[in-house]
């Protein structure tokens, strides 16, 4: 059903008539109170009217939870709002809430997961023929009687801007199974989606612990992804407990200090985990670095092996700031090629023996 809520008349509603505990259409998760919204409401008043609907215990909020909360805190006693008509079905109201959020600040991944949960619950209840919880109407009242206003998950996915398909549904559901700390970090964008998918494999307590470590060490999104994945793979492969691995990595203590100390700790933990997860590759990297250092070419001349030692494309970096330096570097290279060819050749032998 397409109800144009925007066309409804504005009514003055006393705030006491609102059932503030009814969260049937509440999607908000992991958001800080918005100071900008407070300032805007103070300055210009309620420019976007909230949408309310009639429930069992008074009116409940469909759109505008945060606006109304601030409005009440600012000392107002009534608000100009729209009230959904009685024939509006539950999924239509939820749809309006989703749409308004999407058009405004956008829904984060957890809020999308919440929308999916609520949508699916309503769908299932409508399908089963009972849906009176929170006063939401299960069905569309038509002249022929009650007709279920059944809307599919695919409709929700398009509302959220996704292509229909079970994979997205699985993904959103999985995020909702994370610990609260992990969900909050995901909602705030401090934890990337890729890392969240991996964290699911840990217990809620372990998730909390790992997320707090990643936040304390100020990991970038890429670091979060790599760290959580390598951590999980190491635990599984080595059958090592999370706490034991954290102890090995030096992450079993309070992680605070100056920015410099945190940076050092971050680096050493990531390197230790990399060595643990990739013992062979780490050894090859160390061997290569040692062979190169033995040539004594200095920091200005760096032969870089193929990425992850895959393929045979090497890169030669020469850092110079004058023609004289360039000449010296070229001469040094030529001299090594001439006199220490075997050692140079060994840099190109990407082999490994246990």
């Amino acid at each position: 059903m397409n109800i144009r809520f925007d066309d409804l008349p504005l009514l003055r509603v006393p705030l006491t008539r609102i059932d503030w505990n009814n969260a049937a259409c509440l999607l908000r998760f992991g958001r800080e109170p918005s100071q900008r919204l407070v300032e805007s409401l103070k300055r210009t008043g309620m420019r976007t009217p909230p949408l309310l609907a009639k429930g069992k215990s008074g009116l409940f909020i469909v759109c505008g939870f945060e606006r109304l909360r601030i409005w009440r805190e600012l000392g107002h006693e009534e608000v100009a709002a729209r009230i959904a008509p009685p024939e509006a079905a539950a999924q239509d109201l939820l749809s309006a809430a989703i749409q308004e959020n999407q058009d405004g600040r956008g829904l984060n991944l957890i809020e999308r997961g919440i929308a999916l949960e609520k949508w699916t619950a309503l769908h299932d209840e409508v399908k089963a023929g009972h849906c009176e919880e929170n006063g939401l109407k299960p069905a569309l009242r038509t002249k022929d009687g009650l007709k279920p206003a059944l809307r599919t998950q695919d409709e929700l996915l398009s509302l959220l801007g996704y292509k229909p398909g079970p994979a997205t549904i699985e993904r959103l559901r999985a995020f909702r199974q994370l610990s609260t700390t992990a969900q909050t970090a995901l909602a705030l964008g401090t934890l990337p989606e890729g890392a969240a998918a991996t964290l699911r494999e840990f217990s809620a307590k372990e998730q909390d612990h790992l997320v707090s470590i990643m936040l304390a060490l100020r990991f970038t999104a890429g670091m979060c992804r790599d760290f959580s994945r390598e951590f999980l793979e190491t635990c599984r492969r080595e059958k090592i407990a999370v706490t034991a691995l954290l102890r090995e990595l030096g992450l079993d203590r309070p992680l605070d200090g100056t920015a410099q100390e945190i940076a050092l700790l971050r680096r050493s933990a990531l390197e230790a985990l990399h060595r643990r997860r990739f013992p062979i590759l780490s050894r090859i990297e160390r061997d290569f670095a040692a062979r190169q250092a033995a040539l004594g070419l200095g920091d200005e001349i760096q032969l870089r092996p193929p990425k992850d030692f895959e393929g045979d494309q090497y890169h030669l970096d020469i850092r110079v700031s004058s023609p004289a330096q360039l000449e010296r570097a070229v001469r040094a290279l030529a001299e090594r090629l001439d006199k220490r060819r075997d050692e140079i050749q060994r840099l190109f032998d990407l082999t490994w023996e246990p």
Partner: protein, 372 residues
Amino acid sequence: MNGISNIAFPIRKVYVEHAVHDTTITRNVLQRLGGSVPVEFVEDGRDIIARHRRERGAQRRGKQNLLLTGFRAQPIKPCPGTPDYLCCGYQILNFGTGCPLDCAYCILQDYFSNPFLVVQANCEAFLRAAADELRAHPDRLYRLGTGEFTDSLALDPLTGYAAILVEFIRDFPNAALELKTKAAHVDPLLHLDHRGRTICAWSVNSARIVESEEYGVAPLEARLEAARRVEAAGYRLAFHFDPIFHYEGWEEGYKRTVERIFETVRADSIAWISLGCFRYTPGLERVIRERFPTNQSTFAEFILAGDGKMRYPQPVRVRVYRKMLDWIRGAGGEKALVYFCMENAAVWRNVMGYSPRSDEELAGWLDGACWH
């Protein structure tokens, strides 16, 4: 019905397109199943594939539902290969997709997301189209195989396709057929006049991997015994060590398999041996996690290679291949043509001391083994 009992899951339902209800393959399947499973006739198999695409559990159910369709696709397709890695130029004789065997590492689990084993049941039309292509390019050599998107022999006890293909290919001087399998059901091949145009190939592995990763397949010794029997029937052989897993104690297992091959068949019967280390796509990893939760094969050291697949680090692969090559040479395969499946030029040079300059050059070497 020997052989079909080996497959991982029994066929539970057969779907038959109306258009192929009376073809040789359909008759074979229905007669050999003997009314033991329900049969549903459908107008167009593509519709039910579309309806069930990406369903949960598709990989498992895809081993139980057999769909017999009319011939629509290209009869011969080049192997898709992978960028930056050398491909042997194998051409796929596309007689079916999906595999009833159940190997945990199988990449088809990621490639095919529908719950059907699909067989082109109109083999007359299929082979007519293949013949047209082979005749249209008489100067081109076609090294054909049926083991890319399915196992060449796993469904043969039901379909009887292999014998039809062997007798088809023998009349084309510019074509050779490689039947690649993990099955041991070779009886129908033994008395055919194959004229040397078919190579029977087995995918082999260490005994530990056969036991822990390959479900519903013929045991290693049964595969080797099957190889011995087709060798006695005059077929040339090939062996594919692909995927090779690098685990603790891998050397012992793979060395033993190499030795068993050369103890069982004559070295000069072997047309080629391919080597390829385990690699996987992120999609395959998800399937393995879901279907085989205790499987550890993806927990080893892998790097993300340029083709988007996870591979063992190159120095590890080089070491594995060098050892494999030593064992093959030492066991009697001094002259055996050994090649790498989907490896880069650096690996070739590090192991063999040379590298094909292109896919075409590598294809030429293998063609040489077919038309020697």
